[in-house]
């Protein structure tokens, strides 16, 4: 982890554009998240998005496809098979994009730290901007995590997507350790590594 390049904002030519005042405010207050319930954490998302906690009042809503999403919520553990899909979904998302590690499993393996089929530390594979602790995190905790992310976007610190680009080789290397090939013959070459 420590040998990773720290993201340098100046080197990215879009940064000035992406982080000027109005767009920053807009990006902060309009977070569309990819409706991908990767793990059991998705069960606490439904109360958070429905009437009792209603995250739409914070400008958050779900989007059905990665193309439109700004935010990827990894709800809990990731099995190795899901990791493939998550990586591809993440790469399909358009910049700037953010990742929230939701629940203990994303931090250090959680309940399934000794399972043979889950990944233990999410930020070895994709950059994580915020971790929310809990198993499950309550809706309040989820909302706090989202608020934390908003603050981070406001402070120009939510730079996981730049980090991913600048350290792409490192991330790919880690991903390859877990995933041998993406999908065999049916896929174009660039997906098949």
């Amino acid at each position: 982890m420590d040998d990773l390049k720290r993201p340098t904002l100046d080197s990215d030519f879009t940064c000035d554009m992406a982080f000027n005042k109005i767009t920053k405010w807009a990006q902060k207050n309009s977070l569309w998240l990819l409706a991908y319930g990767t793990g059991c954490g998705a069960i606490e998302l439904s109360p958070t998005m429905t009437s009792r906690y209603d995250w739409s009042r914070l400008g958050i809503r779900g989007s059905a496809t990665p193309r439109q999403a700004d935010l990827l919520l990894i709800t809990g553990y990731l099995s190795t098979k899901t990791l493939k899909r998550v990586i591809r979904s993440y790469e399909q998302m358009q910049d700037p994009k953010y990742v929230i590690g939701f629940g203990s499993c994303t931090i250090n393996g959680g309940m399934y730290y000794d399972s043979y089929n889950t990944i233990k530390q999410l930020d070895l594979y994709i950059p994580v901007d915020v971790y929310i602790n809990g198993c499950m995190p309550r809706p309040e905790a989820v909302l706090s995590g989202l608020a934390y992310l908003k603050d981070k976007i406001g402070d120009k610190k939510a730079d996981g997507w730049i980090k991913y680009k600048q350290n792409f080789e490192w991330y790919r290397e880690n991903q390859k350790k877990i995933l041998k090939s993406f999908n065999g013959d049916n896929m174009p070459d660039k997906y098949n590594w």
Binding site: Y53, I107, N108, G109, Y113, V128, I132, Y148
Partner: protein
């Protein structure tokens, strides 16, 4: 057809347009979490003892123990739990097994950060996520900073915690030990404690959490959790083997150990400590002959000879383990039986005379030579020993009582006896007449023993006079209670003044002054101060003094004693240095004199059997290193695996069951049906009385039959007499068979 109801009905939902939403506007308003919400951990670090049970139960390995600047002591490892919130699942099992009750959860739940390393958290110590406790430097920093401002939570803020001993996963109540009732036991020297049955021992052993806090409290560092675990597995064989790894006198320890381990037990904070002593006793009671089960490897003789003075616990330990390591060992004992103070100074109702026989005979079988009735300095000279042996161990113990220092003590011709002497004489079967009224001076275990022994010598009225309050007595609480049960009067805050004598020099009474407790002004324990004019006279026949003992160094020729510092400087004379009556030792219990080692009461300050054993073990290592030139002999204490397997099969035929709300274990036959109810119902006191009376009769007949007239003592009282005999015959048969095979 058109479903009008189905089309118009749903439109009624639009009525909610006029109703206020029930959304919780989270950052602005918060919903109160429930009283038992399982949120973030909190640990009362002062109450925590660092036993690590929380870490053991955690199914996610989320809890580690780290040192965050707490000093370890006997009942506290100094470690504190650190929770990895990348693992925790908030099941609160750690809280449910926390024996000290310090760990709890809180109603807080928000813990958001962007650094995965910040999710390590020392509950009760670290403010959430502030310090990265991955590095040791930071840990030390943490310890420094947090010492002043530790977050202290009130009870209402803690959400999931154990309020009393009924909650949680742990059983805080000890399996009670059955004892003879007080009125029965003063009639004889029959053993008061009856011992655990197999099932009781199992139920008690299963309580042990295996944290090992007791190990650090035991002077001998016995492997307590291990041998208790073996009992749980009903594998008494390996239990005994584990005990024998560093204690050659387990039965003695199982009966009379001062058990510092139990005060360090995790259960001791909120409930009854695991009955470690009784469990050890139980293990040793399972075997009539240790020869068949202890599988320690005895090395062939290596040609080095070691002489040991005194067959007390220390001497016997040295003898046994040196023999295992291949030394030729000889022990010189002044008395007619081995055991030292445990044999001579502990009353037989606590420690029956035959308690040591098994162990001694096992040792002798192994090749430890013991010369009885051989007093060094009289029967054999110390010089001779020094010349004959390559190394010498002195373990003579404290057998000389201190004088009371009262007016009239010197003049008294009869009626004044020290407790040590009284006990020795009683234990070795001498007839002692103490008259009808006895006073005991002192408050230690020896004083209580003296009182309780006197009580058993006939219809005697016993009074204990002690300078301070009852709660200040150094004696064990159980002992004091036992004495009171048996009708011993305790007069606290009484300072003896003078022994009243008649013309013949016989004691008639004792004059004492009442005292009040005064603060000593230094924060120490209060001191007694005489109250003028409160003198009282207690008419007595015998006065028993029990204010302490000392060692008798008369056997040492002058040249072996280290006299002054000048001697050391000049180097002309180098001998055994003593200080306040104790031999000074260093390292592996070496004395200041070459090749002389020492241990036991006259070396350590705790002056109990287990410390003596510990000294012995230490000296064994020292002697071994000394004689092998710095290389230690390796010994194999382990037991064979086949034995373990054989015993493990046993427990599969047991299962746990609830009975009247109490958990018991029941025996099953091979098809799984319950065979017998496990816990035997305790005999009612009347029945026990009869038992003891029967014993009394047996005792007299035994006396008549006994060949050794001087060494008569009551036989051990157990309710399973016949069973024992059967076992004995069985074991004999076994040994016979073995012989035949050979």
């Amino acid at each position: 057809m058109i479903d009008i109801k189905g089309i118009l009905g749903p439109l009624s939902a639009l009525k909610f347009l006029g109703k206020a939403p029930h959304t919780i506007d989270y950052p602005k308003e918060t919903k109160k979490t429930a009283d038992r919400y399982r949120g973030i951990h909190y640990n009362d670090v002062e109450a925590c003892i660092g036993c690590g049970s929380c870490g053991t139960i955690c199914e996610n390995d989320a809890i580690d123990m780290v040192n965050v600047g707490f000093d370890p002591n006997k009942a506290d490892t100094g470690f504190r739990p650190v929770v990895d919130y990348g693992r925790c699942c908030w099941c609160a099992l750690c809280v449910d097994v926390c024996p000290s009750g310090s760990l709890s959860l809180t109603k807080d739940y928000v813990y958001v950060d962007d650094d995965p390393k910040k999710f390590l958290y020392v509950p009760g110590l670290q403010e959430l996520g502030k310090v990265n406790i991955d590095s040791t430097d930071d840990l030390k920093e943490l310890a420094k900073i947090e010492k002043e401002n530790r977050p202290k939570l009130k009870e209402g803020e803690r959400s999931w915690y154990q309020k009393d001993r009924t909650e949680g996963l742990l059983e805080f109540n000890r399996v009670p030990m059955k004892e003879l009732p007080g009125s029965t036991r003063i009639k004889s020297f029959a053993e008061v404690v009856l011992g655990y049955t197999e099932e009781e021992a199992f139920m008690e052993s299963i309580r042990c959490l295996g944290c090992g806090l007791c190990i650090s409290a035991c002077p001998d560092r016995m492997h307590i959790p291990d041998y208790i675990q073996a009992i749980t597995e009903r594998d008494y064989n390996s239990s005994a083997n584990i005990i024998y790894e560093n204690n050659p006198l387990p039965e003695m320890c199982g009966k009379v150990c001062t058990r510092q381990c139990e005060t360090a037990c995790v259960y001791h904070n909120r409930g009854d400590a695991v009955a470690i002593r009784w469990l050890k006793r139980f293990t040793t009671e399972q075997f009539d002959d240790f020869r068949t089960i202890i599988n320690a490897e005895v090395k062939p003789l290596n040609g080095k000879k070691v002489g040991i003075i005194g067959a007390g616990p220390a001497g016997l330990t040295v003898g046994y383990y040196l023999r295992l390591r291949g030394y030729d060992v000889t022990i010189y004992e002044a008395l007619s039986k081995a055991g030292g103070m445990t044999m001579a100074g502990i009353p037989k109702y606590r420690f029956p005379l035959d308690s040591l026989d098994k162990q001694i005979s096992y040792m002798e079988e192994m090749g430890v030579r013991i010369h009885y009735n051989t007093r060094v300095g009289k029967d054999i000279m110390f010089d001779e020993i020094m010349d004959t042996y390559d190394a010498v161990f002195i373990g003579i113990g404290f057998h000389d009582p201190y004088d009371l220092g009262l007016k009239g003590e010197k003049e008294a011709k009869s009626g004044v006896i020290s407790a040590v002497e009284l006990l020795r004489r009683v234990n070795f079967g001498e007839k002692v007449d103490v008259g009808k009224k006895v006073a005991v001076i002192g408050g230690g275990n020896v004083a209580i023993d003296g009182a309780r022994v006197s009580k058993r010598l006939g219809n005697v009225d016993v009074t204990i006079l002690y300078r301070r309050r009852v709660q200040d007595m150094p004696a064990d609480w159980e002992e004091i209670e036992g004495a009171e049960d048996e009708g011993v009067h305790i007069v606290p805050q009484a300072i003896p003044e003078e022994i009243m004598l008649d013309k013949n020099g016989k004691v008639t009474g004792i004059k004492y002054v009442m005292a009040e407790m005064v603060d000593d002004g230094k924060g120490g324990r209060p001191r007694p101060k005489k109250i003028e004019g409160s003198e009282k006279i207690l008419p007595i026949d015998t006065l028993v003094g029990a204010i302490g003992q000392q060692a008798d160094y008369s056997f040492l020729p002058d040249e072996y004693l280290f006299k002054t510092q000048d001697d050391e400087k000049s180097g002309s004379k180098k001998g055994i240095d003593t200080f306040w009556g104790r031999i000074l030792v260093h390292g592996y219990n070496e004395t200041t004199m070459k090749k002389v080692f020492s241990g036991g009461d006259m070396v350590n300050r705790t002056a109990d059997a287990i410390s003596a054993i510990a000294d012995g073990l230490n000296a064994v290592k020292g002697i071994d290193l000394f004689l092998q030139g710095g290389k230690e002999t390796k010994v194999n204490h382990s037991v064979t695996e086949s034995d373990l397997d054989k015993n493990k099969l046993l427990d599969k035929h047991y299962k746990m069951k609830h009975e009247n709300g109490k958990l018991v274990s029941v025996k099953l036959d091979l098809s799984g049906n319950i065979v017998t109810e496990s816990v035997k119902i305790a005999k009612d006191p009347d029945e026990l009385k009869k038992d003891v009376e029967k014993k009394e009769v047996n005792k007299s007949t035994d006396k008549a039959n006994s060949k050794d007239k001087t060494m008569s003592y009551p036989t051990k009282n157990t309710n399973g007499e016949t069973k024992k005999e059967e076992k004995k015959s069985k074991s004999k048969k076994k040994s016979k068979k073995k012989k035949k095979k050979k």
